[in-house]
Symmetry: C2
Subunit: 369 residues, 2 copies
């Protein structure tokens, strides 16, 4: 592990903050930031803003101009080595005459990992890797998961009363959670590559499942302008072909993908319960639609299936300060458990107030099959 100076830490920390500026817009690309220094002065900086547009290094090198000769570049991710919609950043850094490159982490894609670093080293550049790596990993959990496993990162959103009810027995539920919680949901949707739901949920509420800029929290609006709005792809499980063109779903910008056994945008097999194969659906979205990050909003049935099949990375649970009684509709439906050993365990990652409600972020513990 190389040793870094406190100046190195400051600069990489700045690069990570810059990278975060792209968190609503870069999908399916990762968030990346770059800072270029001469001595103890910053001469260039930038971040990746949108897929198809220049990478962070390009912005920073443009700003630095001739001052990049002999400079140090801090990049939150290994510079790319391949020709995509833009030329490789490793080549750009070499051509610009940069003397030293510090990367927070290697490329998570095992097929290219280390190649950009090698390209830089072959050109005689001093390269160091691993500065603030944990922070860099936290920038792009979904991109990294897809690159490493071929599966998307799945966040399951649920909302209930303090006693775990999502609706009264007769189905009434408006509004369990607060306006602030609904704004928070908008911010989560805005970060996702896709919103996954079912035709049942879409039909029940005539839900659009889109991001509505006016309903984002003001803190998000301040750094995510209305004209920059990107809509996640809405992916709807529609085994029985119930979706139709009059739905609000189709009245909003943004693509809709229907998933069914046949005659759909995504065709998958049925599982042993005659339900659409969820793992196959997720893998298809990752592979053919470049979806890193899926935000799931649906009812108890899909939630239960995803959890039982260990396909959930994070549960985002909003608990409203209400008591509705156990005769309502429960969060995950009946599980038929008879022993406490069978209970599904989670780890709480975060727990805080969102307006008058509680938001819990929890990761399911993996069980050995």
């Amino acid at each position: 592990m190389p040793t870094f100076t406190s100046f190195d830490y400051q600069m990489m920390s700045r690069a990570i903050k810059l990278a975060q500026r792209g968190r609503f817009t870069t999908a399916p690309n990762p968030n990346v930031g770059c800072v270029i220094t001469q001595g103890e002065s910053i001469v260039g900086e930038g971040f990746h803003f949108r897929a198809g547009e220049p990478h962070a290094e390009v912005h920073a090198l443009r700003m630095a101009g001739e001052k990049s000769v002999g400079a140090t570049a801090y990049v939150t991710l290994e510079p790319c080595s391949h020709y995509g919609r833009t030329p490789p950043c490793a080549e750009g850094l070499i051509k610009a005459g940069v003397a030293r490159v510090v990367c927070a982490m290697q490329d998570p894609n095992p097929q290219v990992s280390g190649r950009g670093i090698q390209m830089l080293r072959d050109a005689g550049i001093d390269v160091q890797v691993g500065l603030l790596e944990a922070d860099a990993l936290a920038l792009n959990p979904a991109f990294i998961k897809r690159m490493k496993t071929g599966m998307p990162f799945v966040q399951l959103k649920m909302a209930a009363s303090l006693d775990g009810q999502t609706a009264l027995a007769n189905g009434r539920s408006q509004w369990i959670t607060s306006k602030q919680a609904r704004q928070d949901v908008q911010a989560y949707r805005a970060k996702a590559g896709a919103v996954l739901s079912t035709s049942q949920t879409v039909l029940a509420d005539n839900a659009s499942l889109s991001v509505r800029w006016a309903e984002l929290p003001t803190g998000v609006q301040a750094e995510y302008l209305q004209e920059e709005l990107r809509q996640p792809i809405r992916v709807i499980l529609d085994r029985q072909h119930q979706l139709h063109g009059d739905l609000k779903l189709y009245a909003h910008d943004g693509a809709v993908l229907r998933v069914a056994g046949e005659q759909a945008d995504v065709c998958v097999a049925l599982d042993e319960h005659e339900q659409l194969n969820l793992a196959e659906t997720l893998a298809d979205l990752a592979k053919h639609h470049n979806i890193n990050h899926i935000w799931v909003e649906a009812g108890a049935t899909l939630a239960k299936s995803l959890l039982e099949q260990q396909l959930v990375d994070e549960l985002i649970l909003y608990l409203a300060p209400k008591i509705m009684g156990s005769d309502g509709r429960g969060l995950f439906g009946a599980l038929g458990l008879t022993d406490m050993q069978q209970v599904l365990n989670l780890n709480i990652q975060d727990c805080r107030m969102v307006g008058p409600d509680i938001r819990v972020v929890a990761t399911p513990e993996l069980k050995d099959e």
Copy 2:
């Protein structure tokens, strides 16, 4: 409102911290602290430790000795004016020659409120009231409630999985919550004047409902020594006279009060559902047993009745990071609600991690009857 100097604020803040030192031991008396100063020096300080032992002012005056002449006394509660097990503190302050008394709040008992202050003023002492009053009120919510309303302060403890289940369908529940949550419960019990439960709960678990010093959180043990341990009175609703002497309940130190329709320590009427009248029970405990603060540990039936009858001041809900399914036993049982307007609303006062679990403190909103 008198004006206070920053030194006044510092001294009253110190008195409030001193008062907190008695929070496990003073019941049914309030927590009170006192600081005595000469110029900008502290010459005496003390707090009320245990009912029947000297009040805070007595400890502080003893420490100050002759330096109390012309001094200022900061007291978190209006000094008492009546002869109880100890002589009135107002008289003590007068005899000691104190020149100025600052009280955080008046006595909450409407029958004596203001009398101590008047006694001091009649003796020519400069008296000011209201410094850090909100903090002083927060020291003794239960004492204050009983003094003002004749009813005890009721905390209802519940524990459930994240999806609101207290047990599986077959009744299995050990252990939903963590060791740390159970230690936290011990600390709450230790602060209460009484623990309220039902013979059903006692018989199901052979529960002792006592405070076990070894199971208190270490932070509590550090300031609450084993030899100081005070047991809350255990109050058991036992309408059908099911308690018997072989239970662990009777194997521990501390009094047990049985509540029933007749032939019991506390006899109360039955309500229209043939259940023991809960409001009458609570009022009796406040009036005849000097109980300020009741900690309730019981099942869904008692919890539901207390909530529906608006007898709960605070709900303390432990949520374990587990999913048990809606076919288990729900927190409050069936409520038969058909409209979201009927839902019981609460306000979250606090939400934090206790070990791996979440602890929610919430106050029910009062409904107009």
